[in-house]
Subunit: 127 residues, 3 copies
Amino acid sequence: MEAVTIVTVLALMQFYWFGIEVGKMRAKHQCKAPAITGAPEFERMFRVQQNTMEQMVMFIPALWLFAELVNPLWAAGMGGVYLIGRTVYRVAYVKEPKGRSVGFMMTVLPTSVMLVWVLVVAVQKLI
Amino acid sequence: MEAVTIVTVLALMQFYWFGIEVGKMRAKHQCKAPAITGAPEFERMFRVQQNTMEQMVMFIPALWLFAELVNPLWAAGMGGVYLIGRTVYRVAYVKEPKGRSVGFMMTVLPTSVMLVWVLVVAVQKLI
Amino acid sequence: MEAVTIVTVLALMQFYWFGIEVGKMRAKHQCKAPAITGAPEFERMFRVQQNTMEQMVMFIPALWLFAELVNPLWAAGMGGVYLIGRTVYRVAYVKEPKGRSVGFMMTVLPTSVMLVWVLVVAVQKLI
């Protein structure tokens, strides 16, 4: 489970990092808290961070259930795709929101596959 | 624990689905990212999704602690109430925000009961 | 692990409480859902709750990984700092957003320390 632990910590650190970047954008564009609207670049970075939270709260439980019920190494591999996908998403979205699809799919797919797979295995075990 | 796993996956998939519905509303009402305001229907669906995330990040840890310390089958039952409650909440809120109370209570109550129960059991074990 | 369980439940209850306070501010300042802007006091309390969610979804996984891989009692101690820090943050932010730094650091530091520590231990175990 060490590889799954490492993926989890990296996903949390990535989200942490996006939070720091939101803070930097606040300072750069003088968007004082509690405002969440203002310069487009700030709004985009804020949406990247918020969307990453939405994805992360699905990804982490999916990752651990998949590691437990299916295979920890495959789980770690799925996690690698997620981590790269979120980075691609962040870079593309802040440049231009329309370009966020590839990175988005790269983080949505691993979670989707793991969730469906876990559901099938759990239902089979139950019946 | 299979029933608890299934409830967890269904809760994550439900949140996932609400996210897809937010995307559809974006397209329907032409609310381009990163905007989070616009057509009332879009704003309501977005609030449903955001509120579901707030509830889900409390529900999932409460569910697993309750399953571990109290009873996994009761946990799964509580989870069933949560899942139905969130669906009721989604349908009612998008029609009319005032009608969201019943579904809201159906998701808040199971989590509250499980949290208080787990706290009592954990404190008793500690002392 | 009882102490870690108690810290987890208290962190979830604290977030739950902030959610109730957001609801009260909605009523007080007549900010009807789905609006998330309006009276400054409402906006601040809303930001407190949202920021607490962002911190909590990092804190809880970090807490349990640290308890498992390093030491459950130290984890509970880190959790105590987090809980006090969030309370300080809530009180200071609603008075004046500029004063939020101390409470913010008190919740960010325990999570950061635990995440880095867990990463080091997990990498050492893997290699």
